[in-house]
């Protein structure tokens, strides 16, 4: 399943949790402009796979390669090209949406563009609430704060674990648009969702994970 | 009966009542202060043991008594708030917290100043002193808890529960001198078999106590209005008052 021009590739990833083999020799590859959806029922190992690809979890076997190098050997090059949004949004309840986002931006960019930040918040219907501590926001609003990073951080690879969770119809449309736009500009997107998602302009490839059987 | 409570407990009525009354109470308190200080500092004879130093008593003792009294008021109104959901009672508790903490602080400071010449030390880990310090912490905890909980209604109820629970400390403060033999004066005025102090020293003390009480009432009434405006800012009666310029 590896292709020659793959930028990100995983080779024979195997992950055990307890006595269960959650990932069994999973391989995949992703090249510029590609969208890849990881599909599988609840508990089939999608989150485990995405976390392993992002370098957050170590596989028991196999490796993840970024531009031909194992990501463990050159973490910071890989990570500076990666945006990972997982089940936990990474939004601090004590800070406002603006403060939350600014901290991430300042850590990754020398001088982030502030008008762009305000535009993004407006586009996500958070404009009125950008000075409110995030713990007061609704579930969907908190997720929107995290998702604003999609348009603020210019990186190549997006790894999104159920980005549509808790979002309303408008929110979903916004995310879908961003994903397609990103791929059109040559970026790569790896994501999961259980929702039927209309990707209009580009077709997503799918990686199918099957149900995990417990070996007993 | 219930109707009566309802009328006299209604915010617009209390607001008007407080507005009409508080200046007079304030004046009366000032008057008593002047009289009490005159009696205490000029008229009362010097103590045969302590000389003139004892006169700090006229601030210390009322402040110490008030620190406990205000706490009891706070606890009772908290209980009323929890049991009958009377919002006004909670406003009374909220308005009392800061002034109560101030009285406690004053009692600690004046006690300390008094301790230096009489016991030869600013501070002593004696039961009454410590329990007064603990009372200060209780007040601070009450204020901190209220401000730490963001939803005002929840903050009010949480603080009310704390105030009620904390009331167990009041008897401990009062009886601490008897339970542990400590440096501090045993009760010489508030005792079952009558006071042991001379009458010319006691009268100014009670005048000062009256002054403190009235000052507390004055402060409470003023603060209550602020608290009520803040809470009912979205209601009709506040809007009407704002419109008529009658704040």
């Amino acid at each position: 399943m590896t292709s020659v021009d793959a930028v990100l590739s995983a080779i024979d990833l195997t992950s055990w949790r307890g006595e269960t083999c959650v990932l069994n020799e999973v391989s995949l590859s992703l090249s510029a402009g590609q969208i890849l959806q990881v599909v599988g029922p609840n508990g089939s190992g999608k989150t485990t796979l995405l976390r392993t690809l992002a370098g957050l979890a170590l596989p028991d076997d196999g490796q993840v390669m970024w531009q031909g190098n194992n990501i463990e050997h050159d973490r910071s090059t890989f990570q500076s090209q990666l945006l990972y949004l997982g089940h936990k949004p990474g939004v601090s309840g004590a800070l406002t949406p603006r403060e939350n986002l600014l901290a991430f931006l300042h850590v990754r960019q020398a001088s982030p563009d502030l008008t762009q930040l305000d535009d993004a918040l407006d586009a996500l219907a958070l404009g009125e609430r950008k000075e409110l501590p995030c713990r007061w926001l609704s579930a969907g609003q908190q997720r929107r704060v995290a998702l604003a990073r999609l348009v603020l951080e210019p990186v190549n690879l997006w790894i999104l674990d159920e980005p549509l969770n808790a979002l309303d119809v408008d929110g979903i449309a916004w995310v879908v648009d961003r994903i397609e736009e990103h791929a059109e500009r040559g970026g790569m997107v790896l994501f999961t969702t259980h929702q039927p998602m209309p990707l209009v302009r580009r077709q997503a490839q799918q990686v199918l994970l099957s149900e995990v059987e417990m070996s007993s | 009966m219930f109707k009566w409570i309802h009328k006299f407990g209604s915010p617009p009525f209390v607001y008007g009542f407080s507005k009409a009354l508080s200046p007079w109470i304030g004046l009366a308190s000032l008057g008593l202060f002047a009289w009490g200080l005159y009696l205490g500092l000029v008229k009362a004879p010097p103590d045969y043991e302590q000389g003139e130093v004892y006169r700090i008593m006229y601030v210390h003792v009322p402040a110490a008594w008030m620190s406990m009294f205000v706490y009891v008021v706070m606890a009772i109104s908290s209980a009323v708030f929890i049991i009958w959901r009377m919002k006004l009672a909670d406003a009374v508790a909220e308005a009392s917290a800061f002034i109560g903490a101030s009285f406690t602080f004053l009692a600690l400071v004046t006690g300390s100043i008094w301790g230096r010449p009489t016991w030869g030390t600013w501070w002593e880990w004696d039961a009454r002193l410590t329990s007064e310090l603990v009372l200060l912490f209780l007040y601070l905890g009450y204020i901190a808890l209220r401000s730490a909980i963001e939803h005002p209604q929840s903050g009010a109820r949480a603080a009310a529960i704390l105030a009620i629970v904390g009331v167990v400390n009041i008897p401990i403060i009062h009886f601490s001198v008897e339970w542990w033999n400590s440096l501090h004066q045993p009760a010489s005025i508030t005792r079952a078999d009558g006071p042991t102090m001379h009458i010319s020293m006691i009268i100014p003390l009670f005048v000062m106590l009256g002054a403190f009480q009235l000052y507390y009432a004055h402060h409470l009434l003023v603060k209550l209005r602020v608290v009520m405006l803040e809470r009912d800012r979205r209601t009709k009666w506040v809007a009407e008052r704002v419109q008529n310029g009658k704040l």
Partner: protein, 236 residues
Amino acid sequence: MSTEQETPTVGIWQVFSTVFVRDLRIAFSSWSEGLNPLLFFVLVVSLFPLGIGPDPRLLSSIGPGVIWVSALLAMLMSLDGLFAADHRDGTLEQWVLSGQPLSIIALAKVCTHWVRSGLPLVLMSPLLGVFLNLPTTALPVLVVSLLLGTMILSLVGAIGSALTLTVKQGGVLLALLVLPLSVPVLIFGAAAVQAVVEQREALGQLALLGGGVMGALALAPVGIAAALRVGVSSGD
């Protein structure tokens, strides 16, 4: 549809034991956690000789105080997260909505807390007493005073823990709320032990502590329940 007659009413005892057993299971789901408050107690007590110096006379004269203060701090430390996990994962909401008396559920949780934190500490205390040169005659009183005292601390502390449920770094605010309330416990507890060390009667102090346990048992569960209800309603 009426399902009311299908569900026979649940006895209070069943509610209590269900919550008690559930919480014990969580507490001891890893052995190290079960032991933790005890180890903390031992560590704090052994810090004192390090901070103060090894003079045995000095140590034995401050011994009762040190053991008692350490016990109080260990209890406080373990109170911090008493309801936090349940609140975070939403279980507390479910208890509030269970339709059963919340004070019984609260009491069950306090009992688990005491079995996990208070009891081991009581059982360990004689050893620490010996360690700090307390006379052996003082050890029974040490044990009894800690037995009663830790019960009060669990009960009263749980109120504080419930009140600080939604406060972000509740730990220290909790201390601010609970310490003033536990000062009398500390004073009577340490005084009881000190009395025996100085060969006086300690019955009076112990009786007061016993009365405290009774009072706290009667009143605290209601307070905890009220505080939990407030905490749950004050947003997620």
